[in-house]
């Protein structure tokens, strides 16, 4: 597929809508520099991939807000955020590391630190949600995601999950949500496990 040439705003709009073609061209356009940065600084492809994806998620998190304004070039934004994320990871790794000298050269986008921090705080909650949902088990997990995320109607859910009617499905959903909340909030306060 031919690479799209898009403006930064078009990238952001496409990302907001999580458009496949746009995401593909985001990879083509912005991934190489970030991959190189990670690979040249003690990283693996897997790590480059993860760092890039997380940078996209940081951006995604921010573009969901209606008042999001990109205050630098998208390339700079993603690169700076990725660099922050990778530095953070490197500092967690033990042992001496030989970093590419260019790594320390001035960037970049001054807001990157803040952008990442805001995201990371949210990310903790999202991780918690992830764990809680996984602990929840089936059919609750699918029932809740179908209802709250896919926004399926009660009739549809009743049919899919084999409940006798919509009210029954609604009751199940209610129970599942209560359980999810219990896991989520208990876990959050560290009382379970």
């Amino acid at each position: 597929m031919a690479a799209l040439t898009l403006s930064d705003n078009e990238y952001i709009e496409g990302l907001r809508l999580s458009d496949n073609a746009v995401i593909r061209s985001v990879y083509k356009k912005f991934y190489p520099a970030i991959m190189r940065m990670v690979l040249n600084n003690n990283g693996t492809e897997q790590e480059a991939k993860d760092v890039f994806q997380e940078s996209i998620l940081v951006l995604y998190h921010h573009v969901q807000k209606q008042n999001f304004i990109l205050s630098c070039a998208l390339q700079t934004y993603l690169y700076s955020v990725a660099k922050r994320l990778w530095l953070k990871q490197l500092s967690k790794k033990s042992g001496t590391l030989k970093l590419d000298e260019r790594f320390y050269e001035g960037d970049d986008f001054a807001e990157a630190e803040n952008e990442t921090a805001v995201y990371e705080e949210r990310e903790q909650n999202l991780d918690k949600m992830h764990e809680s949902i996984n602990q929840l088990g089936e059919p609750c997990k699918t029932l809740l995601t179908d209802f709250y995320i896919a926004r399926m109607g009660m009739d549809e859910l009743a049919e899919k999950f084999g409940y006798t009617n919509a009210d029954n499905a609604k009751n199940q959903k209610y129970k599942c949500l209560q359980r999810l909340k219990k896991i989520f909030f208990l876990d959050k306060e560290g009382k379970t496990l």
Partner: protein, 361 residues
Amino acid sequence: MRNIDLFDDYLHQRLNADDRKLFEERLLTDADFKTQFEEQKAFVNLLQEFGKQEALKSKLDTIYTEEFGVPNVHQLNPKNNFYNKYGRMMGVAASVAVIAVIATITLLSSGGYLIKQHDASITNLSKEITHMKSVQEGIIDGIKTISQKRNLEAANVEGTGFALNSNGYFLTSLHMVSKADSVFVMDEEKNSYHATVVLSDVRLDIAILKIEKDSAAKFSAVPYVFKNASADMGEKVFTLGFPAEDIVYGEGTIASLKGSADTAMYQISVPINPGNSGGPLFDEQGNVIGLIKSKNSNAEGTGFAVKSNYIMQLLSSIENDTLKAELQSNNRKNLLKGLGRSQQLKRIEPCVYNIKVFKGN
């Protein structure tokens, strides 16, 4: 109607205009109701954000895989992945010159303790075969610079490994895979699978590799069992390994129950060569009794193998229960007993792998 259901209906815009109006009025007047609503809204928002993020992640993964394939979990090595993955992006053929090179010297230094213990007369049996030099002209920006900035020369070490069980776990020598950028396990049909080191023991010089389950690899049932006791001096033994491109059989006897004064090793008189490192050592019945480790290069026909009972002991001392269970052999009966040698070899061969290791500088 429960408040939560009402909240959900409101948030999903499933209330009719009148109910909606009533709902909004109540929000203004009933503080408790409002608090409950805000809580539910925040929770549902988080749930929805989680859903969106998961969807985006899986989309990112899918597109990554379509564009680049499976990422290397070790530091990039040029031979196996680089060109395959980025070739398409570069849009040009990269020219690769492979220069064959020699020597086990780097290996000895990475094996480390071996040199200290026995001086350089004992050679670890992996073979370092190639240095790769890549010369390439990239066109598309961004990619081009990778090859220029990164030193693509990688030492290339080969040896042998064998299946511990059919869960995707393999035994090999640690000196082969230590400090590796990436490790590949190559089966009979020359399919290579990326492997990670899940466990290693410096004292015994063994490493356990794992191929991820979701890879396309199919693991044969393992016909042999691991002997949990010491073999006897004078017992006839044999091995299969990769001192060459193709698998090679070798036989001999247990020459001593101590290898180089180490009770964890046998000294064996089996013709072994670089590339045999990490291979299995069998007794006549086809029980695994050891793992080929090294040889004394000053005395022909003097090899060393780590005893299987020491390996078993190590495996049973693992504290991670999940891993411990995964590493259990799923074969309790030696299916090779009573078979002629050539029949035994036919059954064993699919479980012996050529291990290819890429090391950076």
